[in-house]
Symmetry: C2
Subunit: 239 residues, 2 copies
């Protein structure tokens, strides 16, 4: 009998302590917009991304000379070089650079998962790359959704479901996690019309209010790169 | 324009502080098995149910002469009169009686929601009654799922989805809560084969292991009663 590996899904950082698993690879996702922006930054040549949880840390890093991306509630902070639209992380800005990055939900979630065996950043943009890596590593998997201020959101849940669905199709993985089943079923419902499905998401309403919803279609585009951001000590690099 | 009322769904007690709303009627659900058992107890003539969070409180109430139902992890505690199968709350035991009740998840969730405008206990058994009451009251609604030890579970999520789906079909209610949309879509997916869908739920595996899964079909039977248990101070009575 094959020794199948467990998959779990944690739908909010506020639930993380119930799922923490040092034996698992953690895939942290914040589809709108931090994890999509991080993947885009590496696609555009960023060398290193340093996630910081607080604005105070981000400000201190700016003062010591770093390029800083920082937002709260979707709005770029005045001390920062730019906010967290994936479109901000252009090759002109990020190529060969180290970038400090602080966001409402995503960067805290990355730090929260730091005791895991590996911490990867997942988005629809690198979905296939993440899935291939997890199959290759053949170890337990925890998908941590950044959500919105500890509430569950649809877009991160759908990403989790996409990973769960792909892994359960192999004979390497199993789950007894109700969140994983829920996410998988929502993904199967949404996958053929992802952008249309996500129109009802609360985050879409928030982004629209601030004229930031130009990223929604891009952030729900699958497999634009096989780059996998991975946490090494306190910063993200390309795996 | 009609003043529509907000519906939200909180999928785990660990997320409750993000959803707490004194203006809302809270519907607490723990389909397997506490909320189903509470509804069944009132169907069988119970006068009053006193939910207590800890086993210590339950034991003290037993010592002072109360009939006590108490379980942890599905297993009845030795000092208790019986556990939390709905089948335990027979007319012979409960008719005209006051019962102290302590469970792994459900009774804590009821206490957690106690600052709400009203606290109701919902189960598939009284689904239609709950929905009719919420339409009549025409106020904000929060559905609190008891889950399993702070993890999200499928059966409570489906109950929440059933309520959301019915309320959104009226023009009285709206939502911008992603958990509400997720729950609704899962309900729509599961509703025609509810018992079959729930076979994959983690709780079903737990109950089966302890030979307690005889209640699953009963707990997923719709509209056996219009009784609505409501919290008055520290105890539940029939509305």
């Amino acid at each position: 009998m094959i020794d199948k590996k467990k998959i779990e899904v944690c739908l909010s950082p506020a639930l993380y302590k119930n799922y923490e698993n040092k034996e698992a690879i953690a895939v942290v996702t914040d589809v709108l917009r931090a994890s999509s922006a991080i993947v885009a930054a590496f696609m555009n040549g960023a060398k290193k991304i340093i996630p910081v949880a607080t604005l105070e840390e981000a400000k201190a890093m700016k003062d010591s000379g770093y390029m800083v991306a920082a937002e709260r509630d979707g709005i770029v902070r005045d001390f920062a070089d730019f906010g967290n639209s994936p479109f901000n992380f252009t090759p002109e800005r990020v190529k060969d650079n180290d970038i400090v990055y602080s966001t409402t939900n995503g960067t805290q979630a990355i730090q929260l998962a730091s005791s895991s065996k590996q911490v990867l950043v997942g988005a629809f943009l690198n979905l296939g790359g993440i899935i291939d890596h997890l199959k290759k590593e053949n170890t337990e998997v925890l998908i941590l959704c950044a959500g919105w201020k500890n509430k569950i959101n649809l877009e991160d849940t759908l990403f989790a479901g996409a990973v769960v669905d792909a892994l359960l199709k192999t004979d390497q993985f199993y789950t007894i996690c109700d969140s994983a089943y829920a996410a998988q079923d929502l993904w199967l419902l949404a996958k053929d019309n992802l952008v249309e499905y996500i129109q009802k998401a609360a985050q879409r309403t928030r982004l629209k209010k601030n004229n930031l919803d130009d990223v929604i279609e891009y952030c729900h585009t699958l497999n634009q790169t096989s780059i996998i951001p991975i946490l090494r000590k306190n910063h993200l690099v390309k795996l």
